[in-house]
């Protein structure tokens, strides 16, 4: 039975990731990018690929490091602590997991390009304001030997910088997943001006041609391929959000030890001590759900859905609490743009919505628990 304890390899991976990220992706890097109006960082992604992160879920035969879902969560968790900007979840987790389900020569070729960092992906599912893959309406009409795609997607995270798009669309008898280049004729990408200063886009599809070659898995049967990919993405996102919570919390506790009012460190006041302690408790409990989701995905990803939803639901609650408490305990300075807490708050809000909000995941758990 897999243990709910970080093993030695995972601890080493976390330490190594931390070492790299502290240099390459401190929060100040995100600030610089925001100030310059830049939302993606191809050079750093290449470095992450060299560390084996882009290929964390890619088989070794395609040049990947194939470390598994729990390891992907460990990396995402560390990235969350300093709000690192990368297409890790979109490409290395979601797209890689989808392509891996396909398991043919073409997919293996695509996986190799993900692992090397040469090609990045984005997942285009959302059409309304909430995540609802089953409710996708965008049409892919049969046309000769192929399809024509027409419709609009929004909140395509990493969509403006991605080389390729995984597009979910409705075909004659169900949903079909397409893997198409982002620059195909008829694909129009409009970068969104996001509160967290990261890459997301609204994308319109006008008579975009797709062939049978562009279909991942079977026509009318997208979920066989997409569900495990979404689950893996949700778990990694939950891990990243928990890293974010730890990052915001650490800043806050450090501040409680430094800041003086009434002649003493404000961390001496029991009202603040108990707020901080409560937040730590919430983070501890959420960490268990993250660890469990990784273990369940590695054991058998087809039955990990509830574990993943639990992780995302808890991570969302906890991150929202962590950033609110972070601002409150910092006082006025926490509200200023010059201070980093605002970046954490904005990223937490965006991540809360991505791949299903709290209610979406709580409903999944409720259904599984019988009410």
């Amino acid at each position: 039975m897999a243990k709910l304890v970080m093993n030695e390899e995972e601890t080493m991976l976390a330490d190594m990731a931390r070492g790299f990220l502290d240099d390459a992706c401190p929060v100040s890097k995100l600030r610089e990018m925001r100030d310059a109006g830049v939302t993606s960082d191809a050079a750093t992604w290449k470095e992450m690929a060299d560390l084996g992160w882009a290929g964390v879920l890619v088989p070794e035969e395609a040049g990947g490091s194939d470390m598994g879902f729990a390891a992907a969560n460990v990396i995402a968790h560390e990235m969350g602590k300093t709000l690192a900007v990368s297409p890790f979840i979109s490409s290395a987790v979601i797209a890689a997991t989808a392509l891996r389900q396909v398991n043919d020569a073409r997919a293996l070729g695509a996986l190799a390009k993900i692992a090397s960092g040469d090609v990045t992906y984005a997942l285009a599912v959302d059409e309304g304001i909430k995540f609802d893959p089953e409710g996708v309406q965008m049409e892919a009409k049969a046309d000769g030997n192929g399809f024509r795609l027409n419709g609009k997607k929004q909140f395509v995270v990493d969509g403006a910088s991605a080389d390729r798009l995984l597009v979910l669309a409705r075909t004659a008898d169900g949903l079909t997943l397409f893997d198409i280049p982002a620059d195909r004729v008829g694909v129009n990408c409009d970068a969104s001006n996001m509160i967290d200063a990261r890459d997301a886009a609204r994308i319109t599809f006008e008579d975009v041609e797709a062939t049978g070659e562009d279909v991942l898995g079977a026509v009318d049967n997208a979920m066989d391929i997409l569900k495990p990919a979404i689950n893996a993405g949700q778990a990694a996102l939950a891990a990243e959000m928990t890293g974010l919570s730890v990052g915001a919390f650490t800043m806050t506790v450090d501040y409680l030890k430094e800041r003086k009012q009434f002649g003493v460190e404000i961390g001496r006041f029991q009202a603040l001590q108990h707020r901080a302690a409560h937040l730590w408790c919430e983070i501890e409990v959420t960490s268990s759900a993250i660890l469990n989701a990784g273990r369940k995905l590695d054991e058998d990803s087809s039955v990990a859905e509830t574990a993943v939803s639990l992780a995302k639901a808890r991570a969302t609650q906890t991150a929202i609490l962590a950033v609110q408490e972070g601002v409150q305990m910092h006082g006025g300075i926490g509200m200023t743009d010059a201070f980093d807490m605002g970046f954490y708050m904005k990223r937490a809000r965006v991540s809360a919505e991505w791949l299903g909000d709290y209610s979406y995941h709580a409903e999944k758990i409720a259904a599984e628990r019988g009410f």
């Binding site: 001590q273 108990h274 409720a366």
Partner: protein, 388 residues
């Protein structure tokens, strides 16, 4: 082909349970009426309860992880998980609950001598001796180290005088383990001894306290010249605080388990509520969902801490987190169950049973074994390192 030893264990256990767990014990109940506490004066509520206890005790299944020599089954952590899964599959009642299992056992297994373990543990495992815990006093609640019950050194024994309070089921217990001040001069953490006392050996009197739930699970316990032979001490003289602290950790994990192990035999809160209501209203359903999400995550955290302990990383002060989160959750759950029960839940032993009594009982969860506020202070000082 080799069979995975854990799979083999599971198969064997499943067979044994199918053959040995009486039908009446397969309702998963964990109520005041269904629990078997054991002890010299125990009256079994049914023949099935007696048979179930005897069969489990013979296999060591009342204390599955204790060593075989002391009445357990010597199960590993993985086997223990399987044991609970298989018991849960049958909805089997726990064969025996007791403070001997929860508290004395861990203390003796860690601090006791081999002779003490042999003397005290097997009767606990067989349900023959019932223990209670003598910790709190009127002037020593959150400030537990301030205990004043005194043991005077009389050569071969201590002469104990003083008063304990909140001693759970002291009126029904055979023995008590108590924190007793054995040195009047030393600082308060270095003057306490952890003593074992036969409550029927004279000098001990108990008086039940009626609680808001209408029952009297707690007592006041008075010691008047009670004699405790010198060998009835766990650990060293004046080092009882080490034992007490170690046990408090266990107690906290145990109480928090009440929050994560869903009452109603592991059934989801939603299912319990559904039994009462034809149609769950949207607000109640949303609250129940939130409770369920938190409950599952806290349950996983209990598992994680057990796995960490097995890997040699003790929870230590972090167990305060389990206690705090688990008990606050349990209170919320019972508020929701009352809400779901509507006016039916407002009658003592009404149409939904003793739901009101259970609800009132949970209010003590965030007080006993260290209040929620003490837990938060432990986390903030010892885990977060905030100034005291």
């Amino acid at each position: 082909m080799t069979v995975n030893p854990l799979d083999a264990f599971r198969a064997e256990l499943r067979d044994w349970l199918a053959q040995n767990c009486p039908e009446e014990m397969r309702d998963g109940l964990m109520t005041e009426e269904s629990i078997c506490w054991g002890g010299k004066d125990w009256v079994f509520t049914s023949d099935a309860q007696r048979v179930w206890l005897e069969r489990c005790a013979a296999k060591g299944y009342t204390v599955p992880t204790w060593p075989v020599a002391y009445g357990g089954a010597g199960l590993s952590r993985d086997q223990e998980k399987i044991f609970h899964e298989e018991m849960g599959r049958l909805d089997a009642r726990s064969p025996l609950q007791s403070f001997g299992i929860w508290m004395l056992g861990p203390a003796l297994l860690h601090f006791g001598t081999h002779e003490q373990k042999l003397q005290y543990l097997p009767p606990v495992a067989r349900g023959e001796v019932r223990w209670c815990q003598g910790y709190s006093e009127p002037g020593a609640g959150s400030d537990l180290a301030n205990v004043q019950t005194h043991g005077e050194d009389k050569g071969d024994h201590w002469l104990v005088n003083g008063q304990k309070i909140w001693t759970s089921y002291a009126d029904k217990a055979d023995w008590i383990f108590a924190l007793v001040r054995t040195d009047r001069e030393a600082p308060k953490h270095k003057c306490i001894s952890f003593l074992l006392l036969d409550m029927k050996g004279g000098g001990v009197e108990t008086r039940p306290i009626k609680m808001i739930s209408g029952v009297s699970p707690f007592c006041e316990t008075f010691f008047t010249d009670a004699k405790i032979p010198k060998e009835q001490i766990v650990g060293e003289v004046n080092r009882g605080w080490d034992v007490a602290k170690y046990l408090l950790t266990h107690e906290r994990e145990m109480i928090s388990g009440g929050g994560a192990g869903l009452s109603g035999g592991g059934r989801a809160l939603g299912a319990v509520i559904k039994d009462t209501m034809d149609e769950m209203d949207a607000t109640l359903r949303a609250d129940a969902m939130r409770c369920e999400v938190n409950s599952l995550a806290i349950g996983l955290t209990l598992e994680r801490y057990k796995d960490q302990a097995e890997a040699g990383q003790g929870a230590g002060d972090a167990s305060a987190m389990l206690k705090y989160m688990g008990t606050e959750l349990n209170k919320q759950r019972h508020e929701l169950m009352m809400n779901a029960g509507g006016s039916d839940a407002l009658e003592w032993d009404g149409p939904v049973g003793n739901r009101a009594g259970d609800w009132l009982r949970t209010k003590a969860n965030s007080i006993e074994g260290g209040t929620s506020e003490v837990m938060l202070s432990i986390v903030s000082r010892r885990v977060l390192g905030l100034p005291g």
